[in-house]
């Protein structure tokens, strides 16, 4: 069982960046009638989101977040020994985007850097990987960059995905210090559900061709996309959530020895309002402890957890706080964590 615990490792600073272009979902009616759009938007609860322009990549959003974090904390760049970039929208198929960011951020060549390719649960996978590395006393500080431009992944003509996703980037600084106390992670995977959320073509199993970039009608509802655009079986994803997420949250609570009433906040992956309302009700959680950014930033995939912390808990993490994190997504993979914040400096959100 992938249950992990760490002592004396934690997050000392966070920052996030979003594109300046705001999409108002009720007015996103180029391809569907306004009444249909309203029905979907009311259900998923995404009223606005941010779209990167064609020149802006996940790495640019992360770069802006990291520069803000360095400036606000007077971080000595020569002390960054680890850089992990988490994304499924990298700059290139090779080289790894983390290596490009090492150079752009002027980090030393002695920095250990690599990419992690995972979906919406990836912040927790990335954070636990950094925590594991940081048990090495030779490492001083680690930078976890998590960015996504999901607006470039999905077809605006497929109503099952057209109104949900947005773009953002984040930067998280991790250090060793006794003040952070203990933290706990549960990490899971289920490849039997690989077809719930997927981009069929453009990898090496089904390489790009003239055929794969053609738009096609894909179902009886007239939704249109190419094989190089993502699809999502929303009903099956919700079934997966019902089956796996409440029990994983119970699991991490019992593993960490925390009672749900002892949690200061619960930060869910911002999948959509319908799912998060369901989870809160099912687990009988106090809704006032569950910050939400789904209405203004949409589902930013793996960035939604750090973005929600930066946006909604900016001034709450100076004092000792215990927070439960939970996220799930493409793979499928899902993860939950109970971590403590103490004297964490959170920057204002940057617009790029």
């Amino acid at each position: 069982m992938a249950l992990l615990q760490f002592d004396g490792i934690g997050i000392s600073a966070m920052a996030a960046a979003v594109p300046h272009t705001v999409i108002n979902n009720y007015e996103y009616t180029h391809y569907f009638p306004a009444d249909q759009v309203k029905e979907v938007v009311d259900k998923v609860g995404v009223f606005q989101r941010r779209f990167a322009d064609e020149k802006t990549c996940s790495s640019d959003l992360c770069f802006a977040a990291a520069e803000k974090l360095f400036a606000d904390n007077q971080t000595d760049r020569s002390e960054i020994d680890v850089l992990i970039f988490v994304s499924q929208t990298p700059d290139y198929r090779m080289p790894a985007t983390s290596i490009l960011l090492q150079e752009r951020l002027k980090l030393p060549q002695s920095t250990l850097a690599f990419d992690m390719n995972l979906g919406c649960s990836a912040y927790l996978y990335g954070l636990s990987t950094v925590y594991a590395l940081m048990q090495q006393h030779g490492l001083r500080k680690a930078l976890l960059l998590d960015g996504e431009t999901r607006s470039k992944v999905y077809s605006p003509k497929d109503r099952r995905t057209a109104f949900i996703f947005g773009d953002a980037g984040s930067a998280t600084l991790i250090e060793r210090n006794e003040r952070f106390g203990k933290s706990y992670f549960s990490l899971n995977s289920d490849g039997s559900r690989e077809d719930l959320i997927k981009i069929e073509a453009g990898g090496y199993r089904k390489p790009s061709s003239a055929e794969t970039i053609k738009e096609k009608v894909v179902d009886e509802y007239g939704n249109i996309r190419s094989e190089e655009q993502g699809y999502m079986k929303g009903g099956d994803v919700f079934n997966f959530v019902i089956r796996e997420i409440p029990s994983d949250i119970q699991h991490i609570l019992s593993y960490s020895g925390a009672d749900k009433d002892q949690l200061d906040y619960i930060v869910f992956h911002q999948a959509n309002t319908f799912i998060n309302t369901y989870l809160a009700k099912k687990l009988k959680l106090d809704a006032t402890k569950i910050p939400s950014t789904i209405e203004k930033y949409g589902n930013t995939s793996s960035v939604s957890v750090p973005l929600t912390i930066v946006s909604e808990l900016q001034h709450q993490l100076q004092e000792d706080k215990t927070i439960l994190l939970s996220a799930f997504g493409v793979g499928m993979t899902w993860a939950s964590a109970v971590i403590r914040f103490n004297q964490c400096k959170v920057s204002d959100i940057v617009e790029v």
Binding site: R160, K233, G235, D236, N239, I242, F274, K281, K282
Partner: protein, 73 residues
């Protein structure tokens, strides 16, 4: 039991202007659609602690099919 199920289902579909019956083909309701589907499976889980995969759900046609599945009859 059946009456309560009908009441719960009406609420899920947000049907206010008429009664619904056990032999109705729920897929023919004007309120039926992919969004209503999510609400139905949420209701089945919350009230009846019943989970169903999409492939199995597709075989269910009438309100009675739903009821029998949820109550394991």
């Amino acid at each position: 039991m059946e009456n309560k199920f009908l009441t719960d289902l009406k609420e899920v579909f947000e049907i206010e202007d008429r009664e619904i019956f056990m032999d109705d083909q729920f897929r023919e309701y004007p309120e039926w659609g992919s969004l209503a589907y999510l609400s139905v499976i949420a209701m089945l889980d919350e009230i009846y602690d019943f989970q169903i995969e999409e492939a199995d759900f597709k075989k269910l046609r009438t309100v009675r099919d739903l009821y029998n599945a949820a109550t394991q009859q």
